[in-house]
């Protein structure tokens, strides 16, 4: 089952077998996710959660207007999120377009912050495969530690699951040891069954992470989608022994919402998944709210945004 790069993946026949069980009851799923949202996270457990959120954050800017200056600002914040509270450690990664990877890499220097690049013609992926490969290769050659690709939703929605699988497999080959996160774009897939199928295809093709969204649609991440993906990751682990990660991104703006994701992961997958190696948040503004909440827990004061250096 090893492909050329030595990364474990399932062959297509075995992947098809996986896809057979995609039954999900949406009423039951929604009930479960809603009930997890009633967990009350207070005091020490809240502070611990907030610090976890910082460590799991992929600080992101993915705009046409991104410049060297913007990347410098963001990297500085990624390394030292709050200069007034040095107990707060660096975030997991910064996430940028391929053309900005080398700048980000240079600014990061010796820090342990990783550079993630979105590639394969993020966000639409509507280009020939050769272009996706080139895009990804360019990002890796520029020094990206992690690659976030998008699945081929055109092929997926047309029912050509094989094509979706083959593309991910080919991109994983280009990545080699570079961490591959595969974006399902749950806002395009819509149904829980589709999210489960896309999760299993991505995992079978060798993705290290599956990721909810590009953040470019009005429908971004949801705890329901995350739940479907968590179950797929667990089922895949049962068959393969491999623990894949999950990245949620798109519309997660406040700490309260983000902590609910942590609760979901803890209760459905266990504490072993609560590490930046297996769970990430992709966000641009979440970090600011997390920093404010940490300040509030430590001092009792909920401070205005201008007390926190922008990124």
């Amino acid at each position: 089952m090893n492909n050329k790069t030595g990364v474990l993946s399932f062959n297509w026949d075995k992947t098809l077998e996986l896809l057979k069980d995609s039954r999900i009851d949406s009423v039951g799923l929604n009930d479960r996710v809603d009930s997890l949202a009633t967990r009350s996270i207070k005091k020490e457990s809240k502070l611990e959660a907030l610090n976890m959120l910082v460590s799991m954050c992929d600080l992101t800017t993915l705009e046409g207007e991104d410049t060297e200056g913007k990347i410098s600002q963001m990297v500085a914040k990624a390394i030292v999120p709050n200069p007034n509270d040095l107990e707060i450690k660096n975030v997991a990664a910064v996430c940028v377009y391929p053309s900005l990877v080398s700048i980000a890499k240079e600014k990061i220097g010796n820090s342990s912050v990783k550079v993630a690049a979105v590639s394969s013609y993020f966000p639409s992926g509507q280009v020939p495969m050769e272009s996706k490969l080139l895009d990804t290769k360019y990002a890796i050659d520029s020094g990206a530690d992690e690659i976030d690709i998008v699945i081929n939703r055109k092929a997926f929605l047309e029912g050509d699951y094989r094509k979706v699988y083959d593309e991910i497999l080919a991109l994983k080959e280009v990545c080699g040891d570079v961490h591959l996160k595969t974006i399902l774009e749950v806002g395009d897939l819509r149904t829980y069954e589709n999210i489960r199928k896309a999760s299993l295809i991505s995992l079978a093709a060798g993705s290290d992470f599956i990721k909810t969204s590009t953040g470019k649609l009005s429908v971004g991440s949801s705890r329901q989608a995350c739940y479907v993906m968590a179950k797929a990751v667990l089922d895949f682990k049962n068959l393969s022994g491999l623990s894949a990660g999950i990245k949620v991104a798109g519309g997660i703006r406040d700490a309260k919402d983000a902590i609910r994701y942590l609760v979901l992961i803890k209760e459905e997958m266990g504490n072993e998944w609560l590490t930046p190696d297996l769970f990430r948040f992709g966000a641009s503004s979440l970090l600011d709210d997390v920093l404010k909440q940490i300040k509030k827990l430590k001092t009792g004061a909920y401070q205005a945004s201008y007390y926190f250096p922008r990124g």
């Binding site: 009851d25 009423v27 009633t38 809240k46 959660a49």
Partner: protein
Amino acid sequence: MVNWEYSESIESQDIVSIKDKYQNFVNGKFQQPNSKKYIDTISPSSEEFLSKIVISNEKDVDKAVESAQMGFEKWTNTTPYERSKYLFKLARLIQERSREFAVLESLDGGKPIKESRDFDLPQVAANFFYFAGWADKIDLSWGAKSLKPYGVVGQIIPWNFPLLMLAWKVAPALATGNTVVLKPAETTSLTALLFAELCEQAGIPDGVVNIITGDGTTGSLIVNHKDINKIAFTGSTQVGKLIQKSLAGRDVGLTLELGGKAANIVYEDAAIDQAVEGVVNGIFFNQGHVCCAGSRLLLQESIHDEFITKLEKRMQTLRVGNPLDKNTDIGAVNSKEQLNKIEELVNEGVSDGGKIFQTECELPGNGFWFKPTLFTDVQPSYSIAREEIFGPVLTTLTFRTPQEAIEIANNTEYGLSAGVWTEKGSKILWTADKLEAGVVWANTFNKFDPASPFGGYKESGFGREGGRHGLLSYLKAES
């Protein structure tokens, strides 16, 4: 690896004030009872003393029934529109004071605050709103001349959903023009007594709602009282049978909502993860103190191992502990007596040859607790597969074909509820049609709505509560 645990998040008790001792609520006010016999009511999660309630005697019952008779004269001459207004007022007051009721319910009964807050109290209010809406529409529905209220209704309710069972009983009785003498269970009387305060606050005419505390002896006095016109009972099948015997030959209406041993049938084509959730909710909701609990898991043999693995893993995440902690999933067993009964049946299950699995949770030192428990390798002849355990204990049986599932599901003296899990719609309909159970849930469990009638087949009782059918339980044909 991080070891992220939730800090305690305890709901404050400051909102409730519990008296040292309670009187009966008769004729619109709290009154000194004739009986001198009091018992302690304790918190089952800590065994701490909460208050004293009276065991009402014959004179107390006489007085309550007499008050209800006088109340009936007034209530029956109150326009349906006015009765509706009173019920709406009660519904709104319940909503206003719902946190107070929820805390008291968890303190006195042991159920997690998450459930009393998010299930019991919203349902209580919903029942009053629903029947308030019916009060002035009954004539339209059946014709004014044909149906009349019974008069004085004796209502005896259990300890598992103390306030909700009160709502199920009191709201339709008042909406149809009856007056009530209600006796809450002796371990969980406090929310009923707080409800009595609410009746005062709402200005319910004197004698319409009478609440007297007591044990089985008091219940028996109510049942055998000569001026009672109808009895509505929720509780064990054993007591239900006694009540029916006592009433034989008398012109007294009767509805019984009794025990259950519901089958929760999981077919191989079910959405497994959601079925696991539903099975957990079906049996561990309210510590399994639920008459319609899905206490018999019927698994298709082809998915047995996978399902049990997932179920055990999920059970391990159940948080057992202080009912007032907002993160508690499973609270305390309601009483020492009930705990003994659960332990006895579970021991029998083990000695019969059942394979037992219990979660690794730590149980608090004081109070009455039982670990979430799952039995596999169980034969239909074992007592754990036949008797109502009324605790957090799930018994697994297996089947090969849908036909066999139906045979096993119906192979019980009970018939209150059942669950079916499959993604195939036609199989749901086929199964539901053949199950002898009052309620059949498909791909869900323990869902309630005041508009939906609830009640049993066979030894699970007769009569319906909720919905239009529920009104008929409090109306009789005029001769």
